[in-house]
Symmetry: C2
Subunit: 307 residues, 2 copies
DNA sequence: CCAAAAACATGAATTCTTCTCATGTTGACG
DNA sequence: CGTCAACATGAGAAGAATTCATGTTTTTGG
């Protein structure tokens, strides 16, 4: 490949200015340099780009062809360059997020709505991680931030920033016999139907931190993708479900459900934002984390500041 | 503009090969060169393109952005380069034509149909020159070949290649009183309606070489864009028209029209292909001219070889 | 877990490219 | 037909990219 962006920009300048001399000065080179450049191009492709010894300048078909190419390519490259430049100073970037915790959707959306107008240059995306494991994806660079309650085996190069603490509650129908209890033991669930989000048990706190250690399995399991569906099923006494306290609180009034502590002292979790070490310190990343932590602790009922 | 096609190609190779060393060898440079290149890019934009000290290679969002750019741009440039290369050796090029002589359409189309399959790489176009003057357009580079019967005031840099000779005839209705004549004088047209293509009189042989020199004007003028329309009008005795002998011959059988010589010895013209000097010698140009000259002289009734 | 290998990084020297300078040619215009 | 502006060209200077030699890090296979 002989052709160079320098050549294309030169052609563009020549077309805009109408002659070599002026084009050269807008490009901040001498007329001689331009002349050499063109000669080299023409020699290389063995075809003239202009009709020589003729003024005003006239382009050959080959020249027009190259000019057309320049018109396509140069602006595209310039756009990419300026985008990259502002990536460097942290004003712009990509913030593709994934949530491991499904009910996080509920508080994340309002946070995103506040973030977006303040950082309009940031390319936002949010995925639920149904079909991939968020943390490896973060490591690979497919996503840039993961909301998780499980600072898992360090893949290396990841930073976990605590956002806030919340309590996992067991949602039961008010009609359920369990509803009268103050708190629940793992054994209480041995004859219950447990309704969860459709992910593997290891990624659900109620399994990994409550039932698992006690060696208990629920009588049945079924899944629901959306929190509303899950709440509906519980209200109809079709089963019980573990929900963060803030999520449960939203539905408590409308549906006849009740929240019970898991264990005597309750099952508390901390939610983290995981980012790659390299991204820590980028203005738009830190701004998001700060917003998520502070705003959420203020506005979500029932959550406590992290630590 | 710092970014260079070399950088984009390097990124593409790295993506294809998955590591610097192999990418370097496909690019025929050392691994060191690639490493320097990447370092320079990252320094310039002040943002990493890869996650360092990690294998397999992982791209940062910024890197992915640049890679995306490379994917768009590099193939486009490569296409343009190879097109240009084959322009150089005359196998490919642009052959935009304009005809000054309107009835030329009739013989040009079959010629083009023969030319096209033999030179599939040549970009063909044909315009009738209603709205511009073909020869200046040829000079400017807007078109590449002009069919004209008037090797006019040399603009410099144009070559006129004679194609063939033909006779201009006056088409009259068989019902017309003129139809009995062997040949026509300019004065005979003083009380006639003359039907022409819609171009200025100077570009019509019957004015510039027959009526003009004799100082005669037809009683009326009207125009028709298509030869069939023109023939129709003549057949209905709504006027007379000057037509090349080959064009007239085609309609003579169907419509009741008759062709008369203009002047005792007839009005003979030579048709030329005008090209820029630079294009003379290009394989695809010369091939077209040869085809137009030879095939037409053989197949068109009534035309004579040039000279 | 260690050693060997593969991949990557880096500084200095070299090679190559591209630019400028000085000057010669050519074309346009009065 | 002479003058001016635009373009061309060769030689040398400036600068950029590459290589070479070598050091560091990561992976892999025993």
């Amino acid at each position: 490949m002989f052709l160079d962006l320098r050549h294309l920009r030169a052609l563009l300048a020549i077309h805009e200015q109408g002659n070599l001399s002026q084009a050269a000065s807008t490009l901040h080179v001498t007329q001689s340099a331009l002349s050499h450049q063109l000669r080299a191009l023409e020699n290389h492709f063995d075809t003239p780009l202009f009709f020589r010894r003729s003024r005003p300048l006239r382009w050959t078909p080959a020249g027009q062809q190259l000019l057309e190419l320049a018109r396509h390519i140069v602006p595209e490259v310039e756009r990419a360059e300026s985008a990259l430049r502002s990536t460097g100073d942290g004003q712009q970037g990509r913030l593709h997020m994934a949530v491991e915790c499904h009910s996080c959707f509920e508080w994340l959306m309002p946070t995103l709505d506040r973030y977006r107008p303040e950082w309009p240059q940031v390319e936002l995306d949010l995925s639920m991680g149904f079909s991939f494991h968020p943390l490896p994806a973060l490591y690979r660079g497919d996503v840039d931030l993961v909301i998780t309650s499980d600072p898992e085996a360090d893949l290396g190069g990841l930073t976990y920033v605590p956002l806030f603490r919340y309590e996992m509650l067991l949602a039961v129908a008010r009609a359920s016999p369990l509803a009268t209890r103050d708190w629940i033991t793992p054994a209480d669930l041995a004859d219950q139907t447990l309704i969860t989000y459709p992910v593997c048990p290891e990624r659900l706190d109620i399994f990994s931190r409550f039932l698992g250690p006690a060696g208990v399995e629920p009588a049945q399991r079924r899944t629901a993708e959306l929190t509303v569906m899950l709440v509906q099923l519980v209200a109809n006494n079709r089963g019980v479900a573990a929900l963060p306290n803030w999520a449960l609180r939203e539905y408590q009034d409308q549906a006849s459900i009740h929240g019970l502590a898991l264990g005597e002292s309750g099952l508390w979790s901390t939610l983290y934002a995981a980012v790659r070490n390299e991204d820590r310190g980028k203005a738009y990343v830190d701004a998001f984390i700060r917003l998520a932590r502070d705003r959420t602790a203020e506005t979500l009922p029932g959550v406590l500041p992290a630590r």
